[in-house]
Amino acid sequence: MKIVIIKYNAGNIFSVRYAVKRVGFEAEITDDPAVIRAADRVIFPGVGEAGTTMQYLRERGMDELIRSLTQPVLGICIGMQLMCRHSEESDTDCLGIFDTPVELFVPPEPNPMHYKVPHMGWNTLEYSNIPLFQDLGPNPYVYFVHSYHPTICAHTVAVTDHIVPFSSALQKDNFYALQFHPEKSGEVGARILHRFITMRHD
């Protein structure tokens, strides 16, 4: 089982590698297209800003590379947002794997301070019965840190509510994406990562 974590100009990549190790596997951090193409599993993680990270990927042809992958790919946080069509953050055109926009959380009047942005902390998932989500129990808590969110669309496989219901997980064919951080979500996150690595892929 060859697992790679895509290296690019986003933070929080080492935490994902440690989390993969905690569930019993090794992951290589790389930006080598040949290594990424040959991997059994690809993780596209990160914390960062949509405009500069997307520009970085484009300049290196990594946008085309990611779109063309056929093995299971897991986008996390900004990785997920970059897999969507467009982000309001810096008005950025993204990879378009999921045909849905990424929008800023706007706290409602008359009590805007009641809803904090960033959406930071533990919130619940209402998830679909897909192979990635097994044995999680009802409405499990996972850890979020973000100010933008993918809207709900045909590919939504988990919904979380903060100001508005949004897509906390998306799936289309071999592409999976999570708005929360499985690497920081305790036992629930570890189960999802383990499942991503070990689930069957034909």
Binding site: V47, V117, G121, Y141
Partner: protein, 252 residues
């Protein structure tokens, strides 16, 4: 619904949890990683590790500790203590910390917050503020762990750190800290109504009711405590069960 967070705080000196912090029947009481893992197992939502080491060697030890925490613990953690320049932040984040807390350095040079936000994003910055109510009814911010008063007023400074890019505010009232008579709920509620970013209540917890009040009266998003957890006066599972029974959303 977003859960209210419970955050144990560990003081670390030369890579060890400081004296006075102990678990009964817990053999690795001096090891911050083992203690953090135990708190995580009990249901802590995040952890804070504060480096109170003065020496250069001790600081290097702290970075090694941060790496071991990141390798072993699967919940978010913040590190603080002695962070004065961007290089300090980079070292700690590269070692695997999720957030850094800055206090005196930001009061001395407020642009420091913008620099961190620009390089690493707002989500990594916890602006820690120590303040005390003076005779005129004003909350005054203090430097250096509460030793040196500044000309900054709490609410104005909190708005400033938010506008400069802080991701959260951690507020400690110096007159409440360590007294165990509860958090400063009036000031917390005013902070919560002033800021768009989350507020962490710190210092003052003595009972489970104190946590409830910080969330309901103080409108805090998270509550940090040290000694009540370290001395097992309150355990995290019983605290969370209590809060849930009081109708407060917590991660069980």
């Amino acid at each position: 619904m977003l859960a209210k967070r419970i955050i144990p705080c560990l003081d670390v000196k030369d890579g060890k949890t400081v004296k006075g912090v102990h678990f009964v029947n817990f053999k690795d009481a001096g090891d911050p990683v083992a203690m953090g893992a135990e708190y995580s197992r009990q249901g802590a939502d995040e952890l804070v590790f504060l480096d109170i080491t003065a020496s250069y060697e001790g600081r290097k030890t702290f970075v090694d500790l941060v790496r071991r925490v990141a390798e072993n613990i699967s919940i978010p953690f913040t590190v603080g203590g002695g962070i004065n320049e961007l290089a300090d932040v980079e070292k700690l984040l590269t070692a695997g910390a999720d957030k850094v807390s800055v206090n005196s350095a930001a009061l001395r040079r407020p642009e420091f917050i913008e620099e961190i936000a620009k390089h690493f994003g707002s989500q990594v910055i916890v602006a820690a503020i120590d303040a005390e109510l003076n005779g005129n009814g004003e909350w005054i911010c203090y430097l250096n762990g509460g030793h040196i008063p500044t000309d900054k007023e709490l609410f104005a400074w909190a708005r400033e750190v938010e506008s400069r890019g802080a991701g959260e505010v951690l507020f400690t009232s110096m007159s409440h800290d360590g007294v165990k008579h509860g958090y400063p709920n009036d000031a917390l509620a005013k902070l919560a109504d002033t800021l768009h970013i989350p507020v962490i209540a710190s210092g003052g917890a003595g009972t489970k009711e104190d946590f409830k009040d910080a969330f309901l009266l103080g409108k805090a998003d998270a509550a940090l405590a040290a000694s009540v957890f370290h001395f097992k006066e309150i355990t995290i599972p019983e605290l969370k069960q209590y809060l849930a029974a009081e109708g407060i959303p917590v991660r069980l």
